[in-house]
């Protein structure tokens, strides 16, 4: 039940964001992460954005994995 879906914010009105992934849109409240802006990816759970996903951390994790794989091959 703690499933939260990464979605991209495409619009914000007050504290309510409209977010989209794969053509599906949802509304979510931004009370917990008011700093989130249009274009950001956020995790949405039960109508609430619970975290703004950090592109640098995500890229760093993937880069580390790729380096590890390359080093072995």
């Amino acid at each position: 039940m703690c499933l939260a879906i990464p979605m991209k914010i495409i619009n914000i009105e007050g504290t309510i964001a409209t977010a989209e992934v794969d053509g599906v849109t949802r509304q979510a409240r931004l009370d917990l992460i008011p700093e989130a802006g249009i274009g950001d990816f956020v995790l949405i759970h039960a109508g609430l954005a619970i975290s703004r996903l950090d592109p640098e951390d995500a890229a760093a994790t993937l880069a580390l994995l790729r380096e590890m794989a390359d080093a072995i091959q």
Binding site: D31, G47, I50, L65
Partner: protein, 361 residues
């Protein structure tokens, strides 16, 4: 970056799986605490990618599963009251109570509405002022801020026909109880990524400090889960036991301050009854006196005090939630208890250990 497909990259998954083989010289039992992890592990077939001797077991992190029979019976009883509408997340509707389930009670005439969020329940209350809408507040810290904000929204709108029956539970207290028991032997814990987005990774520091058990805050894609397992195996090998954060794109060390504030405004820490674990001190929440009008337990206290004690069933969900009974070892599993005719909550919820074991083996 879409934060999903990238973390399912087949070549990287295979490479990481191969790496795990080099890291696991001894057997290790790792508990995936969160039901959403249980579901991901089953769905992506990750158990097949683990080295021999490394075993994953499911823990108490399925909120539907740990909701006590008494709490479910009480919520169902509220629906018998004229003018009351029960609102709930869809996961809960087929869980059998002592006498009924939400879907059977709906078939018998109770007004039950499935909502995607507690805000939807508040919207319903605004649109239908002649009825009273009770929201079943199920879930861990991930879900609690939404319920708290829904209560504040209802208060700001001066709604008189909305309340919450809270069975929310907090994860660190349950882990402390589980690990304090001698019956569970685990080598490490995959810690729930989305609970951690609210409470912060540092909330679990007591696990290495008090129990000398490694942990890893873990995301939900295949690479995330393998990275969490890798972090635990590395700690077991080098003896530097701590809580690793392998889900940094979503989780920081500290709690979300806005979430902490709204939780403190609306809720008080209280004891809670868990299916399988019993009453755990300070592992649940009650609604603050300032929001008493929105507390279904107070509002309907007269009705609730007459709810009979729950009936005992042969379901062994309790032992499964404590990680001491593998689902196929329950005599009901796959015979009288299946996803289409579930006997207990661990088979009803798609995140339950029994449902995952039944569907994916």
């Amino acid at each position: 970056m879409r934060y999903s497909e990238e973390f399912r990259d087949r070549a990287l998954v295979q490479e990481l799986s191969r790496q795990l083989g080099n890291l696991a010289p001894a057997p290790a039992t790792i508990m995936e605490v969160c039901g959403t992890h249980t579901m991901s592990v089953a769905r992506f077939g990750l158990k097949m990618l683990l080295p021999p001797g490394v075993r994953l077991i499911s823990g108490p992190g399925c909120p539907v599963c740990v909701t006590s029979q008494q709490d479910l019976d009480s919520f169902l009883t509220l629906g018998e009251h004229p003018g009351v509408v029960l609102t709930t997340f869809g996961d809960m509707v087929r869980v059998p109570g002592s006498r009924n389930s939400l879907d059977r009670q709906r078939a018998a005439g109770t007004d039950v509405r499935i909502v995607y969020s507690p805000f939807d329940a508040v919207d319903l209350a605004q649109k239908e002022p002649g009825k009273h809408f009770v929201f079943f507040g199920v879930g861990f810290e991930t879900t609690m801020p939404a319920t708290a904000l829904a209560i504040q929204t209802a208060a700001a709108a001066k709604l008189k026909n909305f309340s919450v029956f809270s069975v929310h539970k907090t994860m660190p207290a349950a882990l402390n109880t589980l690990l304090s028991s001698s019956e569970l032997q685990v080598s490490g814990l995959l810690l729930p990524g989305h609970v951690s987005a609210i409470v912060g990774a540092a909330s679990y520091d007591f696990i290495p400090q008090k129990f000398n058990i490694p942990g890893a805050v873990t995301g939900f894609e295949p690479l995330d889960i393998l990275l969490g397992i890798e972090a635990i195996l590395i700690q077991l090998r080098n003896g530097h036991i701590h809580v690793a954060n392998t889900y940094k794109r979503a989780v920081s060390a500290t709690a979300n301050p806005k979430a902490q504030r709204v939780l403190q405004e609306v809720f008080n820490s209280s004891d809670a009854e868990w299916r399988g674990l019993g009453v755990i001190p300070e592992s649940g929440v009650s609604i603050q006196p300032g929001y008493a009008d929105f507390d279904a337990r107070l509002r309907f206290a007269e009705i609730l005090k007459n709810v009979p004690p729950p009936q005992k069933t042969p379901c062994r969900c309790g032992e499964i939630l404590r990680g001491i009974l593998p689902p196929p070892d329950c005599p009901l599993f796959g015979t009288t208890c299946t996803p289409s005719q579930p006997f207990g909550p661990c088979m009803v919820s798609s995140e339950g250990a029994c449902a995952a074991a039944y569907r994916f083996g």
